[in-house]
Structure formats: C-alpha cells, structure tokens
Symmetry: C2
Subunit: 328 residues, 2 copies
Amino acid sequence: MKDVAASAGVSLKTVSRVVNGESNVNDDLRAAVLEAIAALGFRRNASARELRQGRSGTVGLLLEDVADPFYSILSRAVEEIARDHGTMVFAGSSAEDADRERELALAFCERRVDGLIVVPAGTSHSYLLPEMRAGIPVVFVDRPPGDIEADMILTDNRGGSRRGVEHLLSHGHRRIGFIGDAPEIYTAGERLRGYRDALESAGIPFSDDLVTQAPPSPASTADALDRLLDGPSPATALLCGNSRTTVSVLRELARRSTRLALVGFDDVELGDLLQPGLTVVAQDPGAMGAAAARLLFQRIAGDTAGPPQTVTIGARLIPRGSGELPAP
Amino acid sequence: MKDVAASAGVSLKTVSRVVNGESNVNDDLRAAVLEAIAALGFRRNASARELRQGRSGTVGLLLEDVADPFYSILSRAVEEIARDHGTMVFAGSSAEDADRERELALAFCERRVDGLIVVPAGTSHSYLLPEMRAGIPVVFVDRPPGDIEADMILTDNRGGSRRGVEHLLSHGHRRIGFIGDAPEIYTAGERLRGYRDALESAGIPFSDDLVTQAPPSPASTADALDRLLDGPSPATALLCGNSRTTVSVLRELARRSTRLALVGFDDVELGDLLQPGLTVVAQDPGAMGAAAARLLFQRIAGDTAGPPQTVTIGARLIPRGSGELPAP
DNA sequence: CTGAAAGCGCTTACAG
DNA sequence: CTGAAAGCGCTTACAG
C-alpha cells in the first residue's frame, strides 16, 4: 500500500480510501491510485486489516465429517449465507473425536473467527465459555452442546421417528423393530423416544427384543436383523435410526432375499431407484445449515440480548414403497 | 500478550517463547506465564502472527460445489493432509461460474493463503499469474487451467472411458451409445475420446447417431435415450459420461421398464444395491485430493524449481451387473 | 477532500 | 536464558 501511495503520488490514507471504496476521493487521485494498483499487482493484506479492525470476516464450521452428504449439504447452505455477508468459511471435521473437536474449535478461535457453528462430537463444551464471553457467538447444530447453554438448531427427531412408526402401523404392522445408534447419542435417544411414543399411542406394548442400540456397523446390523427375524414371532417392519444402518440393512436384506417393511431415518441418495423405493423420514440438512448461519450472523450483528434460542426443524416422511409393504 | 507478560512479571518476548513452545525458557518463568495465560483466558491472535510472519497457515480450496459427493470426498482428503501440516482449509463453491471462481480465488489470496487448490470453472486463469509470481502456489484438480501452465491432478478420463466401452464390447455389444456433458468441458471431451479409441480398436465405425453431448439434465437425457432406443437399429448398451447423467438414465429406464447394458463414469452411492447393480468406471476423489494437497505442500515448502507437474490418477472399472448384461 | 501519526498484537533481529 | 526496540500492513482518530 505504501508502494502504491508512492507510485500514485498520494498518501497511504488515500490509497486506503480507494481500496475500501469510500466516496470522498477526488476522481483524478482515484484514477491514479487504481492505475498504480493495477501496475503493481497490489492486493490488500487481509491479516493487517483484520488485526486493526478486530474482526476477521470468517466463520468456523465444525462438522463430524465434511465428506458425509448430510454435512456437506449443510456446509454448502452455510457457505451461501456467509457469502451474502462477505464472509469466508473455515470447515473442519471432528471425526467424532472430542479432542479433535476441541483442537479445531480453539484453532478457529485463535484465527479470530467472527462466529462458530458446531456439530458437537464431545459431551463437554465448557471449554468454549471463555471464547463466548470474549464475544465469539457459537451456534450448535444437530445435537445440543454438552454442559453449557447456547443457541442450537435441531431436527424434530422424536416427532419424525414417531411419524415413521405410525406410517408402518397404518399399514397393519404390529411387530416393528428399531435399530438405532448408541444410546449416548442425543439423536438416537430422541428417535427411540419417538418410536415408543407411536407404540404407546397405538396401545402396543414396548418390547426390548425389538430394539437394538449400537454404533452402526455392517456386523452389528446383521446381528440385529438376526434377532429381529429369526425368532418365533419375527418383526414384519423396521425403523432404521440412521442412514448408515439403513444402508447396511438394505445390503443384508438383499443378501438374504428377505423382504421387510422399512422406513429409514435420513434420506439416502438414489433411494427412489431401489426396488422397492426406500421410504424415509428425511431431515433437511440445507435448512439446518441455513438456520444456523442466519442465527449466527444475527448474533454477530450484535443481537445478543435474549437467552439462547432453539430452532427445531421438522422431518418429513417420504413414502416410496418400502414403508408401504403391508403386514403379512 | 502484554497483559500476560505484566501478570507474570516477564517480558513480552518470554510470553512469546512460551506460547510458541520454545525450549530455552526457565521452568519457573514458564510456569508463571502458563498460569497467567490460564487466568486471563489468553489466546494468541493469529492475525498479528500472520502479519508478522508473512504466512497464514491456511490454504484455499475452490470447488464446483462443496455439497457434491465427489468434491466433498476430495475436500476431506485435502483437510487431512492440511491437518498434518498444521494448516486450516478455506473451502468455497464456484457453482460452475467463472466470475464467482475468480472472486473467491482472489478473496483467498487477499487472505494470504499459503497455497490454492482449484477445480477450474472458468476457461481463463491468467488472473492468477500475479498471485503465483508473488509466491502463492496453485494446483489445479480435475481439469487443466485455462490459459496458463501449472501443476495439475487429473483422472485418466480417456483411459477409463476406453476401458468402460471395451467392457461392453467384451459382452457382445456393437451398438454402444455415449451420453456426455457439453463438449467444452475438458473431462467430457476426454471421455468421448476414450469411447472413440475403444470403438476404433474394435474396428467399429463411429456414428454420430449414438452420441449426445449436452449439459446433463433429466430432459436432455430423456431426449438422448429416445434417439438411442427408438430408431430402427437401437443401441444395446450405453456409457454415461458423468454421474448426473447416469442417475437420470436410471430413472428414465425405470420409467420405461427398458433394460440396457450400462456403464456409468463416476461411482454413485448405493450403486451396488440397484437391480442390477450399477457397473461404473470409478474415479478416486480421495486420491485426487490427497495428491493435490501433497503437491501443494511440497510447493509451499519451497520445491518450486522444476516445471509444472501433471499427476494422472487411474479410473477403475467396478463390475456390478448392469455392464455385464449381454447383447441380445 | 487529503494526510501525518499512532497503534492493532504479534515476531524478528539484536544485545546483554 | 532474557528483554527492549522495531516493524509487519493496514485502519482509526484527528487535524487541516
């Protein structure tokens, strides 16, 4: 900038004014500055600007895995809103590791992000309190934070799960299985609750035999199916608590050439092309990302008066065939 | 940092030494500094550090769409390698818009990224020359840059496509269609070349009637299928030039209940669960991202002596059923 | 409308 | 092993 000023024969401050598009600059001087900028290939140094201004024009986005379709769609939605605010996005994958989450979150804070969107991996988030008090707003998505109060965007997991089970009940099923993630996972717990809600409303007693809660893996899913299908009164329908489990179940059913009424929680690509089409309770990751980003920028803009907000986003049942198979 | 120094009763420089993990600090002073850091909730300001050091510890990653599975897998691979180098990743989506690509790339440069990985959207990249000369290494992925020479990571599109067609030929097909993206797209051109290579080697004359080149959309794909299937000597097999087209073709075939031997370029999730399973020529986005990141960090580390490199990554044929349907 | 001076929070280069 | 001074490249606050 000093070089530009020298080359254009003006002061540093005038160059700064031109670079920042301030209006009160003489046209001739402006032209001279622009010429010098082009000639020297000048590009403003954002670090210096940030240091002086105190805000960085960046936000941090902490996901479980950038490569997972659910999070990558969420991520794109955040990017679009950030773009409207002239802000760039740092994205990082916690890989479900609490230490890595913490490390990334603090690295983002060291970079003085203007705000943070976090899909929690760990169960304790008090490490963020000093940062939040120092003025970095944080919005949690998908799961509530561990031991602090904060803004969050959640799916209506319980209601969605209930709707999925009610759908199976309405097609005559009475023995409905549930295979979900480990019970410590917030969403897994909520979805199991929705399953129980639906059974209870229908006057069907809850049975432990029909429920599996474990981290999703092809092996654990195959075991769970064994338990559901190989007993004296097998399940005729199944709610899968997450998309990884749904995919494992589909592979396992294809291998066994067994049919089973099936509703998956979370949509999977090409679900409509399977035979039968896959009925799902679909979350809306784009809407979640957009809601998180909007709330974050509202906080960044200074709206920090009220208490933490919780935004709940509905889950939609999409019937495509597998959930409409009638009970035998 | 000044506050920490005052609180610990040492100089700024000693705090700096502790924060940076330098070894030559007296244990008592170190302890006092660490205590002051904890008490004050101090976090080093990265902007100031970057300004002084001249490097930012960030890289920019410019994709077509962060939400596309191909790019999100590539993105995660870049993140992992960046992490090994203590570097954060800015990711942005060009949305296939040359202006937006330029705007994002220059915004990354203004933030003084240490390097840039770019999936080109536009056809001219000379706008990056000043930045490259100023010492920001740039690696292009998936497609070559427009009008400059630079490092790049490419898939063996031509060879992969050839292998896909040879696979169909080996199952007795002679009328093999090709539906690819618009001919301006580099990868589309290469894949058409591979298609021609395979036909030529088999002594089968190339026929324009069997080829469609257009931006993928459900409507254009349906039209292309009409042309291929409704004539006097219809195609018995098809190579789809990209995954969006593959999905449209699958939907269209399901609607018509027509069968056709099919090989898709690019894998799609759940392709193994379709009936028949989807045979594809699979790119390896993870390998591409990793190769790009490795080359970039090599350049950042100062290895800029040699000429630009091109790394070509193979495409693998994965037979799953659809490509093995025999010719009638 | 224009500019000179101070300072953002660090690290570098140097002295002791 | 420790510290005082200068400076990275901007913007802010102020004066003219």
